[in-house]
C-alpha cells in the first residue's frame, strides 16, 4: 500500500511508517494474537503535526510505542530522517533515540518521585553523554525550565510538589532538552484540567514554531486534535481507516467511522447541540484478538453491504490527498 500526499512530497519527511504491524501473542499457548497495529502507513513532514485519533483499544498508543521502538515491530518499516530504524539493535538505536522523544499521558506516573526536577530534565543529557554529571547540566536545565514557564527555583523540588499542569511542563522539558526532531505526544493533555490544557497546547505549538519539531499527537479529544494537527489519521481496531489534512477530515469526513466519531463529540453550544443531527456509533469496539473479517468496522457500520464482511477495503485516494479505506468510495 503505497500512497503519496502530494503537498508533503516537496517538504522533508521526518518520519515515514510503511505497513507497520505489531501483533502481541497472548494466552498460555501463545496461539492467540492481539492485532494491535495492522499495516499502518503514513508520513510526517518537518515542523508538522500528525494527529492520531480513535477509540481506546484502536492501537494508536501501540503504534506510537512501536515507532519509538519500545515495542518490537512485527513487520513493516520505520524510517526516521531517512534512516531505516526498524531492525537496529539497542546499541545502534542509542544515537537515534536522541532524535525522538516522548511525552506521556499521566504526569503523575511518568516522573520519578525520588528525583528532583533538575535531575529529571538532566537525565537525557547524561544518558546521551552531553554532560558527564547531572549537576553540570544547569546551563541547559535552567533556560529550559524558564522556557516551559517554570523558574530555576523549581529545579530542586520534587514532582509531587507540582500540580498536574506543572508536571506536564516538566515532562515537556525532559522531552525537548535534547532538541529532538520528532516528539510523540501520547495523550499529553487528557489528564489535565480544561484551563490548563490550553496552556500546554500553546507551549507545544510555540516550540514547534521555534525549533521546527514534528509531533505525532495522539489524543481522543477530537476538537483539540483538529486545532493542533496539520494532518489527522483515524484508527480503528489497529488499522488506519482515513487520513488527510485536518480541516478536510472535519469538514468532509468520508469513512462512516470517522463520521460517527465526529458526530459523538459534544458541542459546547447548547443551540447547535439541540439542532445537530447525530450520526453516532452503536455498540462497542470488537476484540482485537479476533477482529471481524473484511472491513473491521462492518459490525457497527450503518452502511455495511455484503462485500464489507468479505473483503478488506484497500486504502485509496478519494479526493486530493484524502485517503480512505472503505468500499463506499
Amino acid at each position: 500500500m503505497e500512497f503519496v500526499l502530494e503537498e508533503i512530497m516537496s517538504e522533508s519527511i521526518v518520519l515515514e511508517v510503511r505497513n507497520l504491524t505489531k501483533h502481541f501473542k497472548v494466552g498460555s499457548s501463545g496461539k492467540q494474537v492481539v492485532h494491535a497495529v495492522d499495516n499502518v502507513s503514513f508520513r510526517l513532514a518537518k515542523g508538522k503535526t500528525l494527529g492520531l485519533v480513535g477509540e481506546s483499544g484502536c492501537g494508536k498508543s501501540s503504534c506510537a510505542r512501536t515507532i519509538i521502538r519500545i515495542y518490537e515491530p512485527t513487520s513493516g518499516r520505520i524510517i526516521l530522517d531517512g534512516q531505516d530504524i526498524t531492525e537496529l539493535n539497542q546499541k545502534a538505536l542509542q544515537p537515534v533515540r536522541k532524535k525522538m522523544q516522548m511525552i506521556f499521558q499521566d504526569p503523575y506516573a511518568s516522573l520519578n518521585a525520588r528525583m528532583t526536577v533538575r535531575d529529571i530534565i538532566a537525565e537525557p543529557l547524561v544518558a546521551h553523554h552531553i554532560v558527564k554529571k547531572k549537576d553540570q547540566a544547569n546551563d541547559w536545565v535552567y533556560p529550559m525550565l524558564e522556557r516551559v514557564g517554570l523558574t530555576k527555583e523549581h529545579a530542586n523540588r520534587y514532582a509531587h510538589e507540582f500540580s498536574g499542569g506543572q508536571r506536564q511542563r516538566v515532562g515537556i522539558a525532559r522531552a525537548l532538552i535534547l532538541q529532538p526532531d520528532l516528539v510523540i505526544c501520547d495523550e499529553p493533555i487528557s489528564a489535565l484540567d480544561v484551563s490548563i490544557q490550553a496552556q500546554v497546547v500553546n507551549l507545544l505549538k510555540d516550540f514547534q514554531e521555534e525549533k521546527g519539531i514534528s509531533y505525532l499527537f495522539i489524543a481522543h479529544d477530537l476538537s483539540m486534535v483538529r486545532y493542533v494537527s496539520d494532518d489527522v489519521g483515524v484508527m480503528y481496531l489497529g488499522q488506519l481507516v482515513e487520513i488527510c489534512e485536518a480541516d478536510e477530515i472535519y469538514k468532509n469526513p468520508l469513512h462512516p467511522y470517522t463520521k460517527g466519531l465526529l458526530g459523538s463529540i459534544p458541542i459546547a453550544n447548547p443551540k447547535l447541540a439541540r439542532e445537530k443531527e447525530k450520526s453516532s456509533i452503536e455498540g462497542d469496539i470488537p476484540s482485537p484478538i479476533n477482529p471481524p473479517r473484511g472491513c473491521r468496522f462492518h459490525t457497527r457500520c450503518p452502511y455495511a453491504r455484503p462485500v464489507c464482511s468479505q473483503e478488506a477495503p484497500e486504502m485509496k485516494e478519494a479526493g486530493p490527498g484524502h485517503m480512505v479505506a472503505c468500499h463506499l468510495y
Binding site: 484551563s195 500553546n202 476538537s223 466519531l261
Partner: protein, 333 residues
Amino acid sequence: MEPILQVENLKTSFFTSNGEVQAVRGVSFSVEKGDILGIVGESGSGKSVTSMSILKLLADTGKIKEGTILFEGQDLTKMGKAQMRKIRGEKIAMIFQDPMSSLNPLIPVGKQVAEMIKEHHPEKKKDELKREVLDLFSRVRIPEPEKRYNSYPHEFSGGMRQRVMIAMALGNKPDLLIADEPTTALDVTIQDQILKQLRGLQKEFGTSIIFITHDLGVVAELCTRVIVMYGGLVMEEARIDDIFEDPKHPYTLGLLASIPKLEQDKGQRLSPIPGSPPDMTNPPVGCPFAPRCPYARNICAAECPEFKEVGEGHRSRCWLLDPEAPSDHNPFR
C-alpha cells in the same frame, strides 16, 4: 415549582495533618423536579465534595461544618447513618467516574443489581428481582441481558460497566440521580451513547439529575441549568443557554475561551487561564479567582464579592458586576 433538593450555605472541610482543607465554602443551589443540573469546575473546585456531602459519603476526615441540605423537605445534614442508608439508593442514587472500582469483582453483575433492590425492598422474591434486573438491563441497552446477568465485571467493557451502574442506580426509581463524571473515562462514542440514555431515562422517569463534569461540551448537550464552581464557591449559576451566550463571570469566560471552537483558526492561539487553582488549606480572602483573573482590581483580592442576581435565574459572584464598578477594562459593560 417546589425544588426537590435545596442546598443552603454548605461548608465542608477536611481535617488533615496539613491543616483544614476548606473544600466547600458556602455553596447554595437547588434542583427542581426534572432538572438536569450541571456542576462544572476544575479539580479541587469542590464539585465532587459537594455531591459527597449531599450523600454523606465523605471520608472520615471530612465534615459538614455548616449549612442545610433539604431533600424533599428533610434536612439530610441532621440524619443518622441508618436513615441515610434508607435514602441512598432508594431516593438518591449515584453513579461514579470509575465503574470498575464501584462494582464488586467477585459477584456477578446481575446479582449485584438485585442485591441493591433487595436492600430497600426485602419483601421481593428472587424471581421478581431477577425479572426487574433483566428489565433494567434491557432498558440501559445491555445486549443479551439473560446471558450478561451472570457475567462478572471484568468481562465487561468500560461503557458496559457504566451501564450496569446506571441500571443499579435506577433500580429503585430514585427521585434524584447524582452522576459524578460518569463519562470522563469513556470514549466519545460510548459517552454519546450514555448521554443519550441518561436523557431518555430522565424523560421516562422524570428523575432529576445532578451531573458533575469538567467538560462544557457535555454540559451543553445534557443539562438544563449549570453552576460553575471555583475554589469551593459557586461563581455563576444560569440556564444552559445563558451560560454559553451571556456568561457573567470572568472564570466562565476563561473556561469558554480555553476550548478550541470547531471553526477555530489554527493561527490563532488558544487563550488559557494563566496560573493554577488556589490552595484550599489557605483559601484567599477575596475572590478565589482574582489571582488568575485578567480583569482583577484591588478590591477583588481584598474582599469576596457576593453572589448576586444578574438576570432571570442567572446569578454571579463578581465585583465587575457591581453598579459602581468602572466601565473601562470591564467585559460586562
